[in-house]
C-alpha cells in the first residue's frame, strides 16, 4: 500500500447480483414445479422451505419465482430472463455464504432447466466504511476541489469506465459522503462482465479482485477486522 492510500474499514455492506440468461427461459416459469423442487433442495441448507417460495406475476416481464431467506436478509428472484439475488446485509452473512448462495441458486436453476445459459453478470456492491486515520472531506479533496464561490460544501465523486466493445468488462465507482459522519465514506462499486470470461464458481473471487483493484486505482484499500 502506498502512503497515499486511504484505509477503509467496512461497517456495513449490501450486494445486488444479476445474472442474465443468453435467451429467455419461459419453461422455467411455465412449469415451475422442477424449479421449486431444486430451489428447496439446493437452498435447504440456508433454511429454505416451501414457505419461502412464492410465484408472483402481474405481467410476463414481472413474473418470477421468489425465494426469501428472511434470517439472512437475502431475496432471490428467478425471472424469465435473469436471476436476481439481493444480499441486504452482506457484512453479517459474509462473502463466503453469499458466494455459496449464488452457486446454489444457479445450480438449482440449471437443474430445473438445463437449457438456461448465462450470458453476463452484473454486481452492485454498496458499503459504508470508516476511514481509518482520515476524514471524508480531506479524501474528497484529492479528487475534486469545489469552486470557492460555493463556500463550504461536501463533495462526492464518480468514476465511470467506458467499455468500447460489446460484452467488455466495465466498472463504475461512486464515492460519497455519509451525512453527518465525516469519518465515514459511502462506496458503490458497480460492475458487469461476460459469463464467458468468468466461470460461476470463480465469480466471488473475480468480484473481489475487481473491487480491490479498482479501489486501489483510486487510492483506497479495504481493511478487514476479525475473522473475515
Amino acid at each position: 500500500m502506498s502512503v497515499e492510500h486511504a484505509l477503509l474499514k467496512p461497517i456495513r455492506s449490501e450486494l445486488h447480483y444479476r445474472g442474465v440468461y443468453g435467451d429467455n427461459a419461459f419453461e422455467l416459469l411455465g412449469a415451475p414445479v422442477p424449479l421449486y423442487r431444486s430451489l428447496v433442495t439446493h437452498l435447504g441448507p440456508f433454511g429454505v422451505t416451501l414457505q419461502n417460495l412464492k410465484f408472483e406475476s402481474s405481467g410476463l416481464a414481472d413474473s418470477h419465482v421468489s425465494c426469501g431467506l428472511p434470517e439472512l436478509n437475502v431475496g432471490i428472484r428467478v425471472r424469465v430472463d435473469r436471476v436476481e439475488i439481493d444480499f441486504w446485509r452482506l457484512h453479517e452473512i459474509g462473502a463466503d455464504s453469499a458466494d455459496r448462495i449464488v452457486l446454489a441458486t444457479w445450480t438449482a436453476v440449471r437443474e430445473a432447466s438445463d437449457s438456461v445459459g448465462i450470458a453476463s453478470h452484473f454486481v452492485d456492491l454498496i458499503m459504508i466504511a470508516e476511514i481509518l486515520g482520515g476524514n471524508c472531506s480531506a479524501l474528497m479533496n484529492r479528487y475534486v476541489m469545489p469552486p470557492e464561490q460555493l463556500g463550504v460544501v461536501d463533495t462526492g465523486v464518480a468514476f465511470y469506465s467506458r467499455p468500447v466493445e460489446k460484452d467488455q468488462q466495465w466498472v463504475d465507482v461512486v464515492l460519497d459522503r455519509v451525512f453527518g459522519q465525516d469519518s465515514q465514506l459511502f462506496v458503490k462499486v458497480t460492475m458487469g462482465f461476460s459469463a464467458a470470461e468468468v466461470a460461476i464458481d470463480a465469480l466471488a473471487l473475480h468480484v473481489g479482485t475487481i473491487t480491490n483493484t479498482t479501489l486501489d486505482r483510486v487510492g483506497l484499500q479495504l481493511g478487514t477486522d476479525g475473522p473475515k
Binding site: G44, F46, R89, E92, G94, D96, S97, R100, G226, K228
Partner: protein, 196 residues
C-alpha cells in the same frame, strides 16, 4: 354441502357483544380475534380441521413454555421465522418433530459482527434437519481455551438418543458441516452433546 353452510359465521351484534355501537367502535374486533385464537369460534368441522395449525412447541429463555399450544396456522408460520424475547435470545419455534433452537444474544451479535451469521444459519439448519433425537439446541458464545481464549460459537445439543446414535449423528453432522460451511468459518464453530 348444506345450503346454509357458510365459510365463516355471519358477524352479528349478538355474536360480537352488545358494546358494538357504531363504526368507530373497534373493540368487537379484538374480542372476536380472541375468540378465534382460543378455538371457540363456531367454524364448520371441515374448516376447523384445516384452518387451525399443528401443535407447536414455544420456547423462551427465561420462561420456557413446555406445553403444546393450539394456535391458528397463520401464527404458526410467523413463529417459525423467529420470535424475539425479553431475555435477549432469538427464539426459533419449529413444528413438533424438530428441536427448539435458542441463540443467545452474545452469539448472534458476534456472528453478525464478524460476518459469520450466514454460516450460523447453515449450521442451525443442518442440526435441525439431521437430529432426530435432538430435543433442544442452545447456541452460545464461549471462549475456547485450546485456541488461546478465542471466541467460539458453540452449539449445545441436548439429546434423548443413545450414545451409539449420537456417535453416528456426530459423524454425519461433521461431514455435512465440512460440505456446507466454508473452511474459513469452521474454526469459529463448535458442537457439543448433552444427554437427557
Amino acid at each position: 354441502m348444506p345450503a346454509d353452510w357458510q365459510p365463516y359465521p355471519a358477524l352479528t351484534p349478538q355474536r360480537l357483544g352488545a358494546s358494538r355501537s357504531g363504526a368507530s367502535d373497534l373493540s368487537w374486533l379484538a374480542r372476536s380475534q380472541e375468540r378465534a385464537n382460543v378455538g371457540t369460534w363456531p367454524l364448520p368441522g371441515a374448516v376447523a380441521r384445516t384452518s387451525l395449525g399443528a401443535l407447536i412447541s414455544l420456547g423462551s429463555g427465561a420462561n420456557r413454555v413446555t406445553e403444546f399450544q393450539r394456535i391458528p396456522l397463520s401464527v404458526d408460520l410467523a413463529l417459525t421465522a423467529g420470535v424475539g424475547s425479553q431475555s435477549g435470545r432469538s427464539q426459533f419455534a419449529h413444528v413438533q418433530l424438530e428441536p427448539t433452537v435458542s441463540i443467545s444474544g452474545e452469539a448472534a451479535c458476534f456472528a453478525r459482527d464478524h460476518g459469520l451469521w450466514g454460516s450460523l444459519v447453515v449450521m442451525k439448519a443442518l442440526v435441525v434437519r439431521g437430529g432426530h433425537r435432538v430435543v433442544t439446541v442452545n447456541v452460545d458464545l464461549l471462549s475456547d481455551p485450546e485456541a488461546r481464549g478465542r471466541s467460539v460459537i458453540c452449539f449445545s445439543l441436548r439429546s434423548s438418543g443413545s450414545i451409539l446414535d449420537l456417535l453416528n449423528y456426530d459423524e454425519r453432522l461433521r461431514d455435512l458441516v465440512y460440505d456446507e460451511v466454508s473452511a474459513a468459518d469452521r474454526p469459529y464453530f463448535a458442537i457439543r452433546f448433552e444427554f437427557d
